[in-house]
């Protein structure tokens, strides 16, 4: 093993960088129970896990206003997956809050929001990507990393691909819709240690991209870690 690897330099352009010494609050599970999984998603990184029916996934916004882009699949049949329009149509509302049922493209419950410490969670704004960044910010940003890259990378680990990526959730991101239809990602309303907890209504695969976007306020221009906890309620 080459022991110099830790100090190796790189000519890869530096993307989003977590500001050193920014305040972090690692918090704890939002729903009590036996902790089955406790992992950190590094800034800019993808992540996934399966959550069994009845278990609760708590996502901690450790540094505050860090968008956690999220897709959910039926663990046994990935053709059934999270659907923004079904979720919104069934609840008759454009925002995700506590008790929102996260529905599949067949209208069936995949997960339910059972705890939420942010006034309003987004599921309209979609994911950033190298290609869409060229429209939003210019072709000079296309070399940067994006959530779509993270989703494709993590999806591939589960045998999924571009066809399986659909409109997603953005935990801790703020996307208001105004009266004239104006819509956009604005400064966040979360903060360090804020949490959301979602209970699996069946066995699900959850993909997360810890958003590396550095051209809008979806992570306060400071990508920070996420803490992911899966608990089994009632087994504590």
């Amino acid at each position: 093993m080459n022991t110099t690897i830790e100090t190796a330099t790189s000519t890869v352009p530096v993307g989003a960088v977590h500001t050193p010494d920014s305040p972090l609050d690692w918090s704890e599970p939002l729903v009590a129970g036996t902790v089955l999984l406790d992992e950190v998603v590094a800034p800019n990184a993808p992540w996934s896990t399966t959550v069994a029916a009845g278990q609760v996934l708590t996502i901690v916004d450790v540094g505050g206003n860090q968008s956690a882009d999220c897709l959910i699949f039926d663990a046994a049949n990935a053709d059934e997956r999270y659907s923004v329009p079904d979720t919104l149509a069934w609840q008759g509302n454009a925002y995700v809050r506590e008790s929102t049922v996260l529905r599949s493209n067949l209208g069936r419950p995949l997960m339910t929001v059972v705890g939420n410490e942010v006034a309003r969670q987004d599921t309209i704004g979609g994911a950033c990507g190298k290609e869409s960044n060229t429209l939003r910010y210019g072709h000079h940003t296309a070399f940067q990393h994006g959530c779509r890259e993270n989703f494709l990378t993590e999806a591939a680990r589960h045998g999924l691909g571009a066809r399986d990526l659909v409109s997603n959730l953005n935990w801790f991101m703020n996307v208001p819709v105004e009266a004239d239809g104006s819509l956009g990602i604005v400064d966040g309303i979360s903060g360090p240690g804020k949490r959301v907890a979602v209970r699996a209504e069946r066995d699900v695969l959850v993909l997360v991209s810890n958003c590396p976007q550095m051209n809008n306020p979806c992570n306060d221009f400071n990508p920070t870690p996420l803490r992911m906890l899966v608990t089994a309620p009632g087994l504590a």
């Binding site: 149509a89 509302n93 209208g107 979609g126 869409s132 779509r148």
Partner: protein
């Protein structure tokens, strides 16, 4: 007297004659071939340029592969149509309508004239180039079997209240696409608006004889289901006929006003032209 009593289908020759005698029939919902012979030619369009002419039944669906530069008119004949639309890049169908990008990148949630229908790959699949309705929706997608079972008591594809997803699934299958290939869709002719607290307010139809024109910016697989909007407050399954015409036209040029309207759109059309040029389209 039953139908069988009036028809001579006892032999093959008689059955063939009986079958062939039906060929000139018409219905209220049918395709018109060749398209130039449509009974409802769009005003101001040379009928010889038409490539698609059809009336889609209530609860029905249609689909077509169209070339880059095709202009597609969806018309709400009676004011009760609801056209649920998906578009795919026909050459690489994993590039397809991305509703989130279609709302986010133009900074506008409501569809209307000039709005680009974007893929997730930074390109414009189609542009809304004309819109006399203004009552559309990009939030609620289409209905599912589960939704229609709860709302109407039935969702069988052959029944009185088929779901939009089931219709789009059938349409997709005819182009080799499976259920997993169906992303969220948009719908035209039945609108809603979002309140400050996020609640949807039903807007409904703008009335009969409105239309939306879509310009194909790439070769497209177009899937359309004509079913009630999920949030249509009517408890009955009410949907009217949808008329479709398409004709040869030109794709957007980067200096067209709608393509040059904002920096995001300018780059979206530049990306689209870049792709088309490289592929020799």
């Amino acid at each position: 007297m039953s139908r069988a009593d009036t028809r001579d289908t006892a032999s093959i020759l008689a059955a063939r004659a009986d079958a062939r005698s039906q060929g000139d029939g018409v219905s209220d919902w049918m395709a018109y071939l060749p398209a130039a012979r449509t009974p409802y030619p769009p005003a101001g369009v040379d009928p010889q340029l038409l490539t698609w002419a059809e009336t889609v039944a209530p609860g029905g669906y249609t689909h077509k592969v169209v070339s880059r530069g095709t202009r597609i008119r969806l018309e709400d004949v009676a004011g009760d149509a609801c056209a649920h639309l998906l578009v795919f890049n026909a050459l690489e169908p994993w590039e397809r309508l991305n509703v989130a990008d279609t709302q986010k990148i133009p900074w506008q949630a409501y569809l209307g004239a000039g709005h680009p229908l974007l893929s997730g790959d930074g390109r414009v699949l189609a542009t809304v180039v004309a819109d006399t309705s203004g009552h559309h929706d990009a939030f609620c997608g289409t209905s599912t079997d589960l939704w229609n079972l709860e709302k109407y008591g039935d969702a069988a594809p052959h029944g009185p209240s088929p779901s939009g997803r089931a219709r789009l699934t059938l349409a997709a299958a005819k182009h080799g696409l499976g259920p997993g290939d169906l992303p969220p869709s948009v719908s035209f002719f039945q609108g809603l608006r979002v309140e400050v607290d996020g609640a949807f307010t039903w807007q409904g139809s703008a009335g009969p004889a409105t239309y939306v024109d879509l310009l194909a910016e790439l070769p497209l697989v177009v899937l359309v289901a004509n079913v009630p909007h999920p949030l249509d407050p009517r408890t009955d399954y009410v949907v009217g006929p949808l008329r479709v015409h398409a004709w040869r036209s030109s794709p957007s040029a980067p200096d067209d006003p709608h393509a040059d309207a904002t920096p995001e759109r300018r780059r979206a059309y530049l990306n689209t032209v870049d792709y088309a040029e490289a592929r020799g389209l």
